[in-house]
Symmetry: D2
Subunit: 266 residues, 4 copies
């Protein structure tokens, strides 16, 4: 894996701009929002609160990859409309997942950053197309059981096709442990920061699957070297239409932000 | 997972026709060929031998999902042309992988069966499109670390969109063991045969990663209940452009066929 | 791992004698019995049936390693007495697990073969002591998540201390899959037969955790090259005091023996 | 798992005293030293430095569980003598591993705390004997692929036999990832702190296998809630007789202590 674009030997560390937010610079970045965009009212209420709390980028799923074809698949194009409108109102950039090469163009009209979900990390057709976008920031989640090497090669697919604006996102790996939904692999974060050029953030929501573990693991992730966090939050977590069990409240988000502030001093 | 189309309670067992070959019926089916289509001459030589040996369906990769963007990505459309021409000459149906929704239409003109590779098992956009094809047989490989349940739900994505011609393919799962490339999970084959309606075949090439283990594991797979096998073979395995270490020779294929014949008596 | 005693290069294949039964020779060997020795009457009824069916060695747990300290820990010394008495009556050798170096001497007075359970595969103190026994046959189960290499090194601990009468037992490994209790790794069986000198048997009871999968996986294991099987059975499986879900009936055992007979012809 | 002694519902949080050091109280505890005790001079040099740096407890392996029987098995009784002498000189308590029930009594004469290594977490005979000691502090490492539940039940074995002085130690679990030696599971630390009564410390040396990742993961572990750390260190890490690749220098230890100091302010 020498001579790869992701390698520190190939150039300086990459800092990715999303709107006026820099990921991979001196400040830690917070991305938050609901698992799925549910409605305009709901999304607006969540985003307004998050703005007040100090979150930097809003997330919300419009196209939802679900294990069962009978589960809610997201509001899709309507979800994109809502996300964009809300982002504009609260004046924050938005990130959302794209699952299909045919949806890239339209999604670009609505989102400031495109997310590749864990299930599509090996979808090389999709990665190549995102590479051709050159300037659009990409959030590349680690595959459910991707090795560190495979994950970096997935980034290399995007970079070698022309787009170096890639942010890695560790979101837990699949192991035998079933107390938690996944096993958050902070080792990989420390390793990325040491040897590779790309920013890396952590998603403790999927990484634990349990909202009560999210605050501790958020701080742990930042101490392991993460450049930021992506956390699923909701004004009413128990009623979230998807991933409720791992979604935190606005109060919880506020607590995380406060603890992050104190971390700056060390 | 009750009430699913894949469940035996939803209807009779499904038998999938590929050309004049039935998968899931009384006879075990053999699919073989090189990992990648390399050239017309090479593909023709392999297919002719395989026809003589008694193989039922020819495989060959035209679009190759590779971990590194710098590795050989397949002959692509040229590969499809070769595969179709050779299939016609030896009068055997052909199966090849499709990785991108935009390639489905063209691939349909060349192949008798479409394969979803392990890396795309969670690519729900692709699965939905294959569902809409209604009559095209689909070979659905298990994801690298998909649970049995997720794999069946992937089949359900295809079936619920209108296409019940799905053949499952167990190809080994990712575990801590590194002596073999993957851990062939024959438990899953026995479980599928017991509770689900779809035919299931086994790929001992990826399932072991070691050509010397392929003959034993082929027979073991059939005894676990598999409806057939998909084996990577080559007239000159050491020179195969991809997956050489797990590719067997024509002599080895002949031995497997002979042993399969004797299995019929038990 | 060259120059190891387990390696085929170090000598001829090892055939282990247990009473008048040879493991690793031309014939496949069947070991069966309940998970736990429950009572004299129960053990006698089971062993008598198994003798009629054609089983070669009787198993029964006296000391039971249980995840919870509050679960039944086995009849212990009373269990050993029952096992020996029953073995004598039905004229079959018996195998039982030893968990503690301090129990080796007494267990030797009751059992023809000593089993190291999966949880104690890394218990090197115990392995060394069993090595010093020189002639006692040892059944070495693979650790719950031991690599093939670690398992062979565990055998090497016994062999290098003087006892080459070691039979390996594959019993499933721990993976992310949770449909089955463990993932039976038949790849490892094929690998052992190819490169190592020791006999290897398979335990499809723990390897699947589901009694309905035991018959298929038994035959699959033999086809992968296993020298025998160890299967948990009971005259009344639903009432077995431990491992009921994976314990088969006497009728099921009879069916497996019949299918094994037919396998001889291939 | 309700009604277990490990459960917070069964009583107040447990604080374990080792000499005059409390684990599980307000202060974070640092345990450090070489993987193996190598010689008196070496051990004395390391311990003296560690004392200056501010480490609280000295570790050193006398009995070493090694995968291969041909690898260095530790200085054994001589190692215990050295460890005790050095501990006395630097006036710090010492912890060392015990692998065999027959070594407990003698080890008690030399060590202030007994460690159960990862390979012996399921060695229930050993756990029961340690339970009978009542007052000796026990450091219980998590098994290589033990679930959180199995690990807690292992603690329950000790506690239910009378000894509640148990400190858990997360040391990484076995997964498919091979960039690092193990995958450090900090989720489990956060979970233990939330629901269970026992102190839990983290071993980032085994948890990563790479010395350059130890500082980041040490701080991450403390932020996840760990009550302390156990780190392999050496005055000359490259020459350590075992685990050299994951052993840090004295300078590195000093840096970790300084960062820990600053953490107190958040």
């Amino acid at each position: 894996m020498e001579n790869l674009l992701v390698d520190k030997k190939s150039g300086s560390n990459i800092c990715v701009k999303v709107g006026n937010i820099s990921i991979g610079g001196d400040s830690k970045v917070l991305i938050s929002g609901p698992c799925s965009v549910e409605s305009y009212e709901n999304m607006h209420a969540i985003a307004s609160e998050l703005k007040n709390i100090g979150i930097h980028i809003i997330r919300g799923g419009a196209f939802k990859p679900r294990t069962s074809p009978y589960d809610f698949q997201g509001l899709q194009y309507e979800g994109l409309e809502i996300l964009k409108a809300v982002g504009k109102e609260v004046q924050l950039p938005v990130v959302t997942e794209v699952m299909d090469v045919r949806d890239i163009d339209i999604t670009l009209q609505y989102a400031d950053m495109l997310q590749i979900g864990s299930r599509n990390m090996y979808n090389y057709s999709l990665l190549k197309e995102l590479g051709k976008l050159k300037t659009t920031p990409i959030l590349l989640k680690r595959g459910i059981s991707a090795t560190l090497s495979e994950w970096l090669y997935a980034a290399e697919y995007i970079m070698s096709h022309g787009n170096t604006n890639v942010v890695l996102c560790e979101r837990g790996i699949r192991t035998f442990e079933n107390y938690t939904r996944n096993t958050l692999d902070l080792n990989s974060v420390a390793a990325v920061k040491q040897k590779y050029r790309l920013p890396v953030i952590v998603d403790p929501s999927h990484g634990t699957g349990l909202r009560e573990l999210v605050p501790s693991m958020s701080i742990a992730a930042l101490c392991a070297g993460a450049d930021g966090l992506m956390i699923e939050s909701h004004i009413n977590p128990d009623n979230a239409v998807s991933d409720s069990r791992q979604t935190v409240s606005m109060d919880c988000m506020r607590g995380i932000v406060q603890k992050m502030e104190r971390l700056k001093n060390i």
